[in-house]
Every structure is written in structure tokens, then in C-alpha cells.
């Protein structure tokens, strides 16, 4: 390694940065000098008059991974919200002939090599003579086209609107042949449909939990940071105590205290509250830190001298200026809560069947021997969880960078 190497790197970096920021300086010819300078001015003007949120959006836009993350999350949440419509089947419907059937390949090229609308082949079931396991073979004589916005099993969207239109499916006439995008489970239930319904519980638990944490965190962190002194010390102590108890064992102990015979809805809120009992401490720390640093800002002093009430100062002047940071750290703490639910349900302490969440699906995939035959039972829900976690992390990183548009 030579001594000058890092320096070279630095100069190269600086050059690259300059080139990016002010391209006009590169061109030396006289006639080109005027126009780019004007553009530069216009751009600078735009930068100076842009509002805080506008600046954040510009900065956020540059973060490509964050945009990808946001896209993934929008799709996942839409699936969760409209799961009855997206899922081709009722998640509890059994296809007795398709126990542990592997994923149905969705095809667009048929046996003759022609391109056509998506379809699936008929699948024949036979038994392996040695292991007595079911084997599914595709019969490429019979094809079933996949229809979109097709009539299927009736459902009630959000328990209100009755409908029988599904996003896709084979249609009601073909009953014993299913399109199992992610395969079927031990009882012949469509895993994709179950994942869609699981998305509703798993994704919303993270959101609601984080909002509960936020509410607690803003109130207690706000009090702590705004008033300081003895109240601050007391609240900080409480936070320290809670944080010294290892999270997962604490969650386990608390959720074990919830009666196992509670109905799904009650259990759902119980778990959410348990998750946010720990989550608020992190939020309170962020809020407190922001309050402490903002308290000394001139505009807060100015507002106070103008006779604003404390409440007005907090809501009107302080909250808007740290809201962006809060949103960023909020986003980064959602995966923890989603994983919390997943882990607890996996252990059998959280949501339990008949509730369907990604954790419950993972718990059903617990048997390692059945996994050897049907790995999709593990990989489909695991990938859903991991993708969600990644998407939130990327989005949160992007938001955190964007939250401070003046940095760098």
C-alpha cells in the first residue's frame, strides 16, 4: 500500500463531486458559458425558495434503494389491505387432492413453443412406489388459462362489501385444479392466499405497534425533554430499566401471560401493546434528544417572547421541525415490531391459528422433516418477512438522509 493512495482517492472523489455539482465549469468555450450560468442561477433560486418538504423530497428521490423499498412496501400493503381480493382462494379452503403440492408453474410459453396468455397445465397426482409420497406431474395436454378479475369464491371485503371477484384465478368451473403460486400446505391450503391474509395481520401489527410506541414516546419523551430536571431524570431511569431487560425474553414472558383462549382480535391487540411497551423507549429517546436541542433555538425563544402558550410552541413550532426525524426513526423501528410478532407467533406465544400471520405460517413450517419435502412452506413466508424488513430498512435510511436536507 503506498502512502499517497488514499490522497489520490480523495482528490478523485472531490473532482467527481465537483463535476457532478457544477457541470458548467467543465466547459471552457466562451459561447457556452452564458447559458449554463443562467441555468445554474435558476437552479440555485429553486433551491433557495424550496420548502423544507420539497428539499427532502429532492434528496429522497436520489436514494434509489429507498425508492425501491417504498415500492415494495406499497405493493405489500396493498396486498394486505385487499387480501380477500388478491388471494385466489379462501385461506381455509382445503384442496384435499393437493396436500403439500409444490408451487404451480405459471407458464406463458406452451408445449409447441408459442407465446400465449398466462396459463397452467393440468396436474396429475401419482404415488411414489417407494416413499408413498404424492408426486405431481404436469400434463401438457390440458391447459387452463389464468383469468384476471375472475369470479371465484364469494367473500366480504373488510367484512362489509360482498363480492366474488378475485384478482386472478382459474374460474369457478375448474374446481379440483388450483393455481398454487407458492404451493400448498399439509392440509392442501393455498400458501399464496394464506400469505396475502398473513400480510394483513403482520404488516398492520408493525404499524399499529409503532404508532402506539410513538404516542407513548412523544408524550413521555416530550415531557422529559421539554421540562428537563427531575421529571427528566425519573423518565430516563424508567427507560433505562426497561432497556436492561432483554427484549425477546421480556416479550416472551409478557405474551405468555396473555390467556391462550382469547379470541384473535383481543390477542392481536394484546401482542401489539406488548410490542410497543418496549418500543416506546427508543422513540422517547429520539424525541427527548430533539426537544433538548430545539429548546435552545432562537425561534422557540421568539415564540415564547411573543406570548405563545407552551402547547402552541410545542405543536406549532417544535413538532414540525423534528417531525421528519421522527418519521425516519419510526420507519426504522417498524421491522423490529414485525419481527417481534413473527418471532412470538413462531414460538407459539403470539398469534395462533386460526389467525393467519406470517409468524403463524412459519410456526406451521416448524417441522423440519416435512420441510425437507416442502421447503416452500418455510421459504415463502420467510422471504416475505425478510423482504419487508429490507424494504423498511432501505426506506428508513433514505428518509433519515432526506430528513436533514442541509447536510452534505
Amino acid at each position: 500500500m503506498t502512502v499517497s493512495e488514499p490522497q489520490d482517492l480523495n482528490t478523485a472523489e472531490v473532482q467527481a463531486a465537483t463535476a457532478q455539482e457544477c457541470p458548467p465549469l467543465e466547459s471552457n468555450s466562451e459561447e457556452h458559458l452564458e447559458a449554463p450560468a443562467a441555468v445554474l442561477d435558476a437552479e440555485e433560486d429553486r433551491l433557495y425558495v424550496a420548502g423544507q418538504w420539497q428539499l427532502m423530497w429532492w434528496k429522497f428521490r436520489k436514494h434509489k434503494m429507498a425508492l425501491v423499498g417504498a415500492g415494495i412496501l406499497i405493493v405489500f400493503y396493498l396486498i394486505g389491505i385487499f387480501c380477500e381480493f388478491v388471494a385466489p382462494y379462501n385461506p381455509e379452503a382445503y384442496f384435499i387432492r393437493y396436500k403439500m403440492a409444490p408451487p404451480t408453474p405459471l407458464r406463458i410459453v406452451d408445449a409447441t413453443g408459442k407465446l400465449r396468455a398466462p396459463f397452467v397445465y393440468h396436474r396429475d397426482r401419482s404415488k411414489d412406489p417407494e416413499t408413498l409420497r404424492d408426486i405431481y406431474t404436469e400434463n401438457n395436454e390440458i391447459t387452463y388459462p389464468v383469468h384476471f378479475f375472475v369470479k371465484g369464491e364469494p367473500y366480504k371485503l373488510w367484512g362489509i362489501w360482498e363480492s366474488d371477484i378475485h384478482l386472478f384465478g382459474l374460474g369457478p368451473d375448474i374446481e379440483d385444479q388450483g393455481v398454487f403460486l407458492f404451493g400448498a400446505d399439509r392440509m392442501g391450503r393455498d400458501l399464496f392466499s394464506r400469505l396475502c391474509y398473513g400480510a394483513r395481520l403482520s404488516l398492520s401489527i408493525g404499524l399499529i405497534g409503532v404508532f402506539l410506541s410513538l404516542a407513548l414516546g412523544i408524550v413521555l419523551g416530550g415531557i422529559s425533554g421539554y421540562y428537563g430536571g427531575r421529571i427528566d431524570t425519573a423518565i430516563q431511569r424508567v427507560i433505562e430499566f426497561i432497556r436492561t431487560i432483554p427484549t425477546i425474553p421480556l416479550w416472551m414472558a409478557l405474551s405468555a401471560a396473555l390467556p391462550a383462549d382469547w379470541p384473535v382480535v383481543k390477542m392481536y391487540f394484546g401482542i401489539t401493546i406488548i410490542l410497543s411497551l418496549v418500543g416506546w423507549t427508543g422513540m422517547a429517546r429520539v424525541v427527548r434528544g430533539r426537544f433538548l436541542s430545539l429548546r435552545q433555538e432562537d425561534f422557540v425563544l421568539a415564540a415564547r417572547l411573543c406570548g405563545s402558550s407552551e402547547f402552541r410552541i410545542i405543536i406549532r413550532h417544535m413538532v414540525p421541525s423534528f417531525l421528519s426525524h421522527i418519521i425516519a426513526s419510526l420507519t426504522l423501528s417498524i421491522p423490529g415490531q414485525i419481527l417481534g410478532e413473527t418471532g412470538l407467533s413462531y414460538l407459539g406465544l403470539g398469534l395462533r391459528a386460526p389467525a393467519i400471520s406470517w409468524g403463524v405460517l412459519l410456526q406451521e413450517a416448524q417441522n423440519i422433516r416435512s420441510l425437507a419435502q416442502a421447503p416452500w412452506l418455510l421459504f415463502a413466508p420467510a422471504l416475505a418477512v425478510i423482504l419487508t424488513v429490507f424494504a423498511f430498512n432501505f426506506l428508513g435510511d433514505g428518509l433519515r438522509d432526506a430528513a436533514d436536507p442541509y447536510a452534505r
Binding site: E13, F241, P249, G343, Y346, L362, P375, V389
Partner: protein
Amino acid sequence: MLGYILRRVGMMIPTLIVISMISFIIIQLPPGDYLTSYAATLRATGDAVDEAELASLRERYGLGEPIYVQYYKWMSGILLRGDWGQSMEWRKPVKELIWERMALTVFLSLISILVSWFVAIPVGVFSATHQYSIPDYLFSALSFIGAGTPGFMLAMVVMWVAMRQFGLNVGGLFSEEYILEPWSWAKVVDMLKHLWIPVVVIAFESTAGSIRTTRANVLDELNKPYVETARAKGLRERNLVWKYPVRVAMNPFFSTVGWTLAGLISGQTLIAVVLSLQTNGPMMLRALRSQDMYLAGSFLFLLSVLTVIGTLVSDVLLAWVDPRIRMEG
């Protein structure tokens, strides 16, 4: 320095008291006291219920009395007699059950921290000194994946791969014939053979985080004037990097070792359940499921105590490497 340590230990005591209270309240959360369910279990299995034994247990743990009396009896039992209560399910005193499990938990967590540092520090320093090179991008991508993948899912995938590819069950810390054996040299050797899978799985997530921390910290330090000065004086690059910036960049590792340990202990609880390791996880889960609350509560209390000790250790280490802290007091 000694004064600083003493002050910190003094501050620990109220924390420990509150933690013990919280653990005890959590023990008490499920409805019904544990002797009732104990008697119910005995009746269900058809065993004779020894009323005299029940009465003596009831007396000893103050069941049926107000909660503060029960707490006092539990606490004084621990402090004066080392009696952590009775495990209803195992029909043994809790203290006979937990120590081996806790020791393995601590051992596994410490090994995992060491392994993750051993990997993360050189990789992080390399990434920082070779910023924007291909290996740097590779390591950054890897550490991003590691930080996003929850440990227990990684454990499930590892189990599946081992099952599928090698047809073996990688769960557990020991081969079957050693599980119930007392400790012996052969058992230790056997454990070391099984150790690497859990360690890799547990260390994976924290390694990823540590790589990112090291890289960011070393990068910050590399731009400082003292590095330039040292370089201008003709110090060899290798010596320069490892002797000054890396040493400063290590500070956060010391200051967060307590939290890292807590995170590992917390995370490995789940991983241990998946891999059925002989640590706190599976036993605590079982205790919670069967409402064996003295056992579960003792685990919760001890795990929290470990975190408090971890924080103490990191504070002391930080004070040791950074004189400004111990001077401030």
C-alpha cells in the same frame, strides 16, 4: 479508576432491585398461583397429592399472602439461601436447572461476540481504507443483508440446508449420547464440534452491524489532520492505520459491548429454540408455556442481571480507554 468502578457498582444496586421487582410481577401475571396448577398437574397425571408438601411449599413461598410478602420471601430466599424457588414441571429446585443453561448462554454469547469482532474489525478497516473498491461494495452488500436477516430465520434455513444436503440434524449443542452425561473432556470436545453452526448463526447479525460501524468510524478518523501528519512524517501506512485511527474507532465497540451482549442474549433465545440448543431459550419457553413461573422468572431476572453487568463492563472498559470519562465521574 477504582473510585469510578465503585460508584458505578453502587448505581447498579437500585437498578437490580427494580429489575427483580419487574421479574417478580411478570411471574405473578398469569392467573392462579403456581401451586394450584401444580396440584392440578399432579392430579391430572394421577399422582398422589401430598397435602403436607403443598402446605409446606405454600408456607415457604408465601403463596396466598399479599404480593409484597411473596416478593420478600422470594428475594430473601435468593439472597440468603440461594433458593430460586421450585420448578413445578421438573420437580426440582430452580437453582439445579438454571446454572448450566445460563453458563452455556453466556459462553455462547461471548464466543459469538469475539467471533463477530474477529471478522468485523479487519473487514471494516479494509473496507474503510479501500473505500469504493469492489471488495468494499461486496462487504457492504453482505453486511446489509446480514443486518436485515433475522437470526432465527437464518437458523431455520441453515437447518433446512443441513437436512437437505447432508441429511443430518444440526440442532443441539451435543450429540445425543452426551446430552444427559455429566461434564467430561469428551463432552467438551463433542460440544466444540457442534458449536460452530450456532456461533455462526448468532454472530451473523452482529458481525454485519459491526462491519458497518467500524467502516464508518475508521472513515471518519482517516480524514483527520493527525493522520495526515503521521503520513507526512513517513510512517508506514499499515502501522499508521492500525495504531491510531483504528484504536480511536474501537471506542464505540467498548461502549456498546453491554448492549451487544444484551442483543445477542435476546436474539440467541429465539435461535436457541430453533436449533434446540441447551441454553436458556428452549427451557424458558417451555417454562412459560407450562406456567412454571419461578423457573421462567428466574431466567428473566438472570438475563436482565447479565445485561446490567454487561453495561457495567462496557462503562469500565470505556473509562479505561478514554480518560476523559473517568475524570468527569
